[in-house]
Symmetry: C2
Subunit: 492 residues, 2 copies
């Protein structure tokens, strides 16, 4: 963490993120000690302190918002009996191909029934909801869990972005009516905006997914996509209108106020924090390494004492006092008092993405000043030491605002209108997302989407729900009258 033994290596990171994103991503995961890909089981990766501490801060923000909106935490077992997993037909078809199964125990034991490592927990939770929900008085029931989930992905894996084990929150909610379901979907989209965009600085477009790309077993899926540096998009949280499909499969019924037995209505919402972390470092990073938002950086501030010979102890002592004062004010502060040179430390902590650096030398101490360096713009300023706490607090907000604005600026011109396959392919080759009128997002549209995928590598991401867009003309594949405006992108 401290890079104590790194003196011999150069701490300078320098890879062009926009031109060479795969290298940038792999290298930053390695040198910033985010993940170690040498674990030896495909798709399973240890998460190291620098990434885990950031993700824990991200989880805390998300949980605070969920709890403020009356969702309470719970935790279900990691394993799901096979007979539960196979109760909802579409869900089975969607998830069973990716399941890890447990049957053997100990030296030669066998379980009577196979257990799945949860790929998602509807089939673990809903049989219990069927026991818990009795009357309209029990509803709404709003619960979530923070856990690992497991999917035996066939696609190639990459730390955080696609793993066979990943970290998420899954929120599972039960209501008396479909209107309440739609209100919950709306609330989830607002939560996504508050957490992912306002707090993490990641701009997103929100889509209703096509019928062939929705959550298996649900009615509709609404999901936020953001742009990665290579022009591909990545899905951030998605929220699902489950209708009463799962209630019928798992027998979740309630007595309404007229004493009639009704099936319940449900939603689920799944922000994958480890994946959002992968998007976050990609969106905010630059050629020198990570740039972490002040709100979620494990260390928001690093204090670097600068001294020669006889000043050493005095400067270190003063730096410890600065650290203590800033910690007392509630900031997460690291003091790097190792024997590395100041220049080495600057490079190291810039690569790690610490938002603010405080540099303290003998002259600063004498003049009651400190030098502040901000990682986002790589700019320095000198301030009076009495203003330190106030300025750090303000600067933290400025940095986060600036990171978000920079990320938003990358979206300008990202969407390109295209009304033919050639134009779609051209847009995608340029790292853009193509907007086009399309026959239909109902199941009948899937063959056209498959053809687009085959010819351009692009996927139909669905229709925007945060913009009112009217189709015009015909589908560029089948030539039928268009009924939807869809976005097409290559994706993670």
């Amino acid at each position: 963490m401290s890079g104590r033994n790194e003196q011999s290596k150069s701490a300078i990171f320098d890879i062009d993120k926009e031109k060479n994103f795969p290298d940038w991503y792999g290298e930053i995961c390695r040198v910033a000690e985010l993940a170690d890909i040498r674990y030896g089981v495909k798709g399973f990766t240890p998460f190291l302190p620098w990434s885990l501490m950031t993700m824990n801060n991200m989880f805390d923000i998300l949980e605070e918002v969920l709890q403020r909106k009356d969702h309470l935490p719970m935790l279900f077992p990691t394993v799901i009996p096979e007979s539960n997993l196979t109760k909802e037909a579409h869900h089975v078809a969607g998830f069973v191909p990716q399941v890890f199964w447990i049957q053997d125990t100990g030296e030669d034991g066998k379980l009577e029934e196979r257990l799945a490592l949860r790929p998602t927990s509807e089939t673990a939770i809903y049989p219990m909801y069927a026991l818990w929900v009795r009357s309209w008085r029990d509803l709404p029931l709003k619960r979530y869990q923070r856990c690992s989930v497991f999917r035996s992905e066939v696609k190639s894996t990459r730390p955080f972005l696609r793993g066979r084990e990943f970290l998420w929150i899954e929120s599972h909610n039960v209501f008396t009516t479909h209107d309440e379901v739609m209100a919950q979907v709306q609330e989830d989209l607002e939560t996504t905006k508050e957490v992912v965009t306002d707090n993490f600085g990641i701009p997103a477009m929100v889509f209703r997914r096509t019928q062939w790309d929705k959550f298996p077993g649900g009615l509709n899926t609404y999901a936020a996509d953001t742009r990665m540096p290579d022009g591909k998009v990545i899905q951030l949280p998605s929220t699902h209108d489950l209708g009463d499909n799962f209630a019928r499969a798992f027998d979740i019924k309630f007595l309404n106020e007229n004493n009639e037995v009704m099936y319940a209505w449900q939603t689920c919402y799944g922000p994958a924090i480890s994946r959002i972390f992968g998007a976050l470092i990609s969106v905010h990073g630059d050629n020198k390494g990570l740039r972490l938002p002040f709100k979620i950086a494990p260390y928001q501030i690093v204090v670097i004492p600068i001294y020669k010979g006889k000043d050493a102890e005095m400067v270190k002592e003063y730096s410890r006092k600065i650290q203590k004062d800033l910690r007392k004010a509630g900031f997460r502060v690291y003091l790097d008092d190792t024997d590395n040179t100041p220049g080495w430390k600057y490079n190291f902590w810039e690569m790690k993405g610490v938002p603010i650096r405080v540099e303290i030398g003998p002259r600063d101490i004498k003049e009651n000043k400190a030098v502040l360096f901000r990682r986002d713009s790589m700019k320095r300023e000198t301030i009076g030491i009495k203003d330190l706490k106030k300025r750090v607090s303000a600067l933290g907000k400025e940095i986060d605002t600036n990171l978000r604005a920079e990320a938003e600026s990358k979206l300008v011109g990202f969407v390109v209108d295209a009304d033919a396959i050639g134009a779609i392919e051209d847009a995608l080759d340029k790292g853009k997302i193509a907007r086009t009128s399309f026959c239909t997002t109902e199941m009948e549209g899937q063959p056209c989407a498959d053809e687009i995928k085959e010819r351009t590598g692009g996927e139909v991401r669905g229709t925007r729900i945060d913009a009112d867009e009217q189709p015009a003309g015909v589908c560029p594949v089948c030539g039928k009258i268009a009924t939807a405006v869809v976005y097409i992108a290559r994706s993670y």
Copy 2:
């Protein structure tokens, strides 16, 4: 959570905890909505909001202490390749009989190598430590993870106390010398005292376990035991001196300052939060239900508005203001403004163990007063509303001090000296722990321990390290000269 639909049921809990502990425990888990045993897979139990929120607060306190002592969080995969798990011979023998194995994936896939669900993570983490540790400059390496672990227990399971999946923190540390190992063991024991006793109010006795009862593959195990209401003891955190055994098995070596290649020295420490939660509710609960310490209760304060007819809105409004003020002051506060009667609410929240209740009626409002009720002693007091925050803060501390003192008072007379098998059995039958001189805690003592177990049901828990005790006379089983004073108890 709110008990909104419970009006029809009685909220009065009344089971004699000391006389009928198994019933008390099972019932409180059910009615306080801590766990639901109907999940349908032996030993796997959903944890509900009331227990999970408490355990999350417990985790937060433990993590704060670990991080203050320079241990950083990380997270390893849930699965461990079979070839790793079987590298340390004693460890294999100790854990493989309890492993859940994964081999099948999807509809008909097979993994090349079986994967174990981690029963503990030495064999996942140490191969990576072998890559991370190069030089003395990399040491000490102090890391921990918060996760679920999985053991296919043959013993009967009970929510929190013994499950096939449980929640813990495991801390894994690497040093250059065995002296540092012993210092870390000491630090872990201090952490246990600070967290479990000072914060959770659970008194404990600390033992060095016998050689036949230590962590498989380690040199020595040090563990804290506490007394359960039925007189059995339960193990709380244990810390293990691993010597250099695992370093040799996993090839964890470092260059020392003289450029010599040395094997590293290691410790691990495993506070099982879900099990400690089970002990906590058992130790502090009373015949009316839970009594949660103020520091970790999900809701520290419940506000109950008391009104009739026309006063309703005014009292509710005032209660909301009280809730808001207390929340602003940093307390976790719940306002129960449901339609249940005040009496019903009193019983319900007493059963749930909320430490402080604020009762607000029209007359209290007029007189600028509030009634405070403390769950630990079931006593009421009336205070001026302007003193509310200050009094709640002080009362919280008083309650926690009192819960701890009550728990400690239960230990008076708990240890009974016994110098013969009959006396040991007699002590155990009376719900006591027997202290006796014993031949040896080295492996040669195991047959005597086995005989004691068979004849009395008691286990040799080891020798106290927090008390200086000299053996006298002979072993009550084999008659050899005693070399150790051991404690014998029935246990969880």
